[in-house]
């Protein structure tokens, strides 16, 4: 069993009064894509900063590649894209990438060659001699992305890598992330977009208010969540389904999207019962499928419920 790439052991971080991360533990094993999921303010970025050694934990321990030396000693092996992107605005794009490469310990000539290759690949090579401030936000993000990957790190940590990108650029970035994982390296990224995580990640951890809510492989998380789930697609007469969907003896939870819905069956209820009831009521169905719960549904169910409990607790 190889050492985990990242290991966080019951880490706590407090900021003047409020606890951003509370006894959080997670382990990212080598290889594959690890998704750190959570709503805004859940402590994703704080966790990543703790992993990167930018913040010191108040309690607990962080180790990278089995060593507690911190990211700086191991920086040649780690690539990092912070949530708040920062570049020297006045520097030329190529010079900037070369500098970032140099701070990771690769030679100037090597850094130049690699920077050019990356700019080529990201389709912004004609901007190489422009100043960073002249680039659009999306392009700046690509530059920073390239900067994090220039030294071919074996562990890549990306904080919200796809936020603020248009679909085309998000696709380009996704392809790169998948390719890194395919080459046997490790990617840890945070996101609040569940669909993306569901499609890309091998392992996930959902955190809320600084604590781990769920973690494991995606399949494991889904199996643990349990229950039977049905995805519906409506073609017509959806209002006729409302009484059925509201029947708590049949359906435990509904996630209604209008033209479609994701349901969790109530304990002991059968999907067949539901189908019969819907057909009987004359609801037009485009799709009826027994499915695994989506991460989104799990996320809403777990985080939403916990949030409600916490809220009630705070009120009491």
């Amino acid at each position: 069993m190889p050492l985990p790439s990242v290991s966080v052991e019951s880490v706590t971080k407090r900021f003047s009064g409020h606890t951003a991360v509370n006894r959080l533990s997670l382990e990212v094993s080598a290889g594959g894509i690890f998704g750190l999921l959570g709503p805004n303010g859940a402590g994703k970025s704080t966790t990543i900063r703790l992993i990167m050694g930018i913040l010191e934990p108040d309690e607990g321990r962080v180790s990278l590649f089995g060593s507690a030396h911190g990211s700086r000693k191991l920086s040649a092996r780690i690539g990092y894209l912070p949530e708040e992107r920062g570049l020297y605005k006045k520097m030329k794009v190529l010079d900037h990438l070369i500098f970032l490469g140099e701070t990771k310990g690769i030679s100037r000539a090597d850094a130049r060659r690699r920077a050019q290759a990356w700019l080529e690949r990201l389709g912004i090579s004609e901007w190489a001699l422009k100043k960073v401030e002249d680039l659009s936000k999306g392009m700046q993000q690509k530059v920073q992305f390239a900067g994090a990957l220039l030294h071919e790190p074996e562990l890549v940590i990306l904080d919200e890598p796809f936020s603020g990108l248009d679909p085309v650029n998000a696709q380009v970035m996704k392809d790169i992330v998948v390719e890194i994982a395919a080459s046997g390296r490790t990617v840890l990224f945070s996101t609040h977009v569940m669909e993306q995580a569901e499609r890309m990640c091998d392992h996930i951890a959902i955190i809320a208010r600084g604590e781990t809510v769920v973690s494991g492989t995606v399949a494991q998380v889904k199996a643990d969540f349990g229950g039977r789930h049905v995805a519906l697609g409506f073609s017509h007469d959806k209002p006729r389904a409302e009484a059925i969907l509201a029947d708590r003896s049949l359906i435990a939870r509904v996630d209604d999207y209008g033209a479609s819905a994701e349901l969790q069956m109530a304990e002991g209820a059968d999907p067949e019962q539901l189908l019969a009831a819907l057909v009987h009521a004359g609801v037009g169905l485009r799709r009826f499928e027994v499915v695994e719960p989506s991460l989104h549904a799990i996320f809403i169910a777990r985080v939403g419920a916990d949030a409600a409990v916490a809220h009630a607790g705070a009120a009491a």
């Binding site: 900021f15 003047s16 900063r49 990167m52 050694g53 930018i54 913040l55 010191e56 990211s71 700086r72 920086s75 780690i78 990092y80 912070p82 708040e84 992107r85 920062g86 570049l87 020297y88 605005k89 006045k90 520097m91 010079d95 500098f99 970032l100 140099e102 701070t103 990771k104 310990g105 100037r108 920073q144 900067g147 994090a148």
Partner: protein, 438 residues
Amino acid sequence: MKKIIAVIRREFVERVRTRAFLISTILLPVFIVLMAVLPGLMMSGSDHTSRVAVVDATSVGLGQPVSQALQSEKLGDGPAAKARYSVQVFPATAANLAAVRNDLIASTGFSSKKQKDGWDGVLVLTDGTLASGKLDYYGSNVGSLDSMSKLQRSVSNALAGVRLGKSGVDEALVKRAMAPADMDTTKVSDGRLTGQSGEDSFLIAYFMGFILYISILLYGQQTMTSVIEEKTSRIMEVLTSSLTPFQMLLGKVLGVGMAGLAQMAIWGGSVFLVSSQRAHLAGLFGMSADAVRSFPIPSMAPGLLVVFLLYFALGFLLYGALYAAIGAMCNTIQETQQYAVFVTMSILVGFFSVFSLIKDPTGSLGVTMSYIPLFAPFTMPVRWSLSSVPPLQLSLSLGLMVLALLACVWLAARIYRTGILMYGKKPSWRELLRWIRA
């Protein structure tokens, strides 16, 4: 080490490439020349003849010898020099003294364009003047120390002459006795003449202090600003994951410092070029050789140059490290002001101490200050240029500076290390102490 060089290169190249660098390289020498010439112009009195009204309310006719003494003063040397004063005596009695005086004052202090026959000043002599030396002067130019001391000296001479004459001393003898001494000064260093006159030494000292002052202020602030900028642009987050605070800080201080030194080298080089070619250049502009000589460019002895550059580099790095530490403590430029003011103060103290040093370069103040690392870069080159500094003192002062620099970089790196990990929060003094010890 490779990483520090990368940081140094980045800081240096990015700074030298900016338009601000180009502009300041060109404009600063202009300012320096202005700053060097202006105080001289302001301190030395006017170069036009002053119209002085002498109100003579004495019973012994003191107005006559005083006005003669004033009229014999010239503006500058040589037979063609203009008279310094044009004098007119107004007799008065004790009774109408106030009326005569006020009448004259009413036409005093106008610019020459407004009233052609206005007075520049009114000198009032009374019977008490001869006995006690007390007299009054009302004028528009009383703020000029130089003019006032010249006027007072002339009047004193006249009074002394009159007093001696009254005691029966021969007038010709009085004249010879009162002839002023004319002293030329030459600096001696290590038992040899340096060929510098006292005035040259003063100029060099003034120039050096000023260049140091400006450069430290300019580049020190830049170090601070660039630390803050890194924090606000959040590039810090990427850098802290690959560089240690010490690497970042040292690279920044050295990079910015080298940009400053490069600028100095450009200035120094052009001064050298201009001064070595000045006769030639003056010819190009149609200036006479006399005019060139009247505006001397002081030459720097090689030893002084070495001392100056050594102290410049050390002082620069020391202040740079201080500024960087302040940058690390704060999150915005506004916040830095409360801390930066202390640094600016010590720069100012160092700079202005140069003026008192010029009067007394070997005094205990100068010696003490050249052992205090924050002031030494200002005081030591000046002391070196004005007097000879014992080698022991020089090496002790340099050693202290190196120590202080190392301590300061270390301290700054400690603050830096914690400061960048804690952004979003302004530290209290107690927390600062804790950061340093952490």
